[in-house]
Symmetry: C2
Subunit: 214 residues, 2 copies
């Protein structure tokens, strides 16, 4: 699968890891790193790293390696972390609260502008600096504020209806924590899924495999 | 990268998706599906699906396809969802509470047995049916109960110390929500990471790329 720029999703998915890794190195006073060192630390090959960076013009200097701060900065630009995409969060349960608190507290390309829930009892309660709005207010809010992205922290069985509603209101990208497959009903939307259950099942398999060895 | 059974991680990571997809089909009364239909719905190729299943002996019948309930059941067995791995959760903030509530409510191979936090003020408060224990009680608890897995919902800067402590107490697998790279200090542990920030950055890149097109 490729994105609109023709770069494969597997390369794109490595960019945040490179960015975070290089930022950590730079913050720890490490100014440069060779592609082979970077490869070893990240469990990749040096050739894969060079190929990945060549998708964006390449960054290393022969014999020098990479300047960590410069490369982190370049990756931030490629990822668009200096963007200011407006986002609304739907579903103010524990997961929604955690996502709001953890992820909109630093510069990461998005700016949270409202939190919604379908539970009338939650209306007006606070999530960080936001007063929870009822879903009845969604339509007017979207017409006025035109949010770019919606974060869906709703139950699986509510996700389809919420996604269709948001799409009709002009929201075309989703950070989806439900297991509902939004792409199946909105193939032209941008959907990034966080599938916690899949991750837990993967861990289960790995532990089971290890136990089979013993 | 391959797991201990010699199966590549990319195949392993598709197993939960197959399992969930086939379970949904079966629950919706769809008894059988061809590998080409399954491939189309999941954005894979039919040959990839056949290759994946061949790692486990293969399941389809020529001309019939797959029986959804039987295949879901076989995948549950392969994944080990009938296991009963004891798990403790460290970090009872919003994320920890969300993870506890969402993910230990159904059969998925794990059984949550305790919730810990380093904040004395949280001691004794409830997360679902669990009274939060203070980290001071971790050592005795692990010696008595020998948990298999720890779920780390702690801040990034606390993760290293907590992981080392747990490792010394015999915990060798981690479901890690922090951005600390546990594998770098505990290469023999099983670590499954949930990197929410990486996922958000990927979405940021995709939206930015789309906007560049217009």
């Amino acid at each position: 699968m490729k994105d609109s720029t023709g770069i494969s999703m597997s390369v794109i998915r490595r960019l945040p890891r490179y960015y975070q890794y290089l930022t950590d190195l730079s913050n720890n006073g490490i100014e440069r790193i060779s592609s082979s060192e970077l490869a070893e630390k990240m469990g990749l090959t040096a050739s894969q790293i060079r190929q990945d960076f060549n998708c964006f013009g390449g960054f290393g200097l022969q014999g020098y390696g990479y300047n960590t701060a410069q490369l982190a900065n370049a990756l931030a630009g490629i990822l668009g972390l200096d963007s200011d995409f407006s986002a609304i969060l739907i579903g103010a349960g524990n997961l929604g609260k955690a996502v709001a608190a953890h992820l909109f507290s630093e510069q990461n390309g998005f700016r949270l502008i409202a939190v919604f829930d379908s539970d009338k009892k939650l209306e007006g309660k606070k999530v960080g600096k936001f007063s929870i709005l009822h879903m009845d207010a969604l339509e007017d809010f979207c017409k006025q504020n035109k949010p770019v992205t919606a974060v869906l922290c709703v139950p699986d069985n509510a996700a389809k209806e919420v996604a269709l509603k948001l799409d009709s209101l002009g929201v075309k990208s989703f950070w989806n924590f439900s297991h509902f497959d939004i792409s199946s009903i909105l193939p032209n939307s941008r959907v990034e899924n966080v599938h916690l259950k899949d991750s837990l099942m993967t861990l289960c398999f790995l532990i089971k495999s290890d136990m089979g060895k013993n």
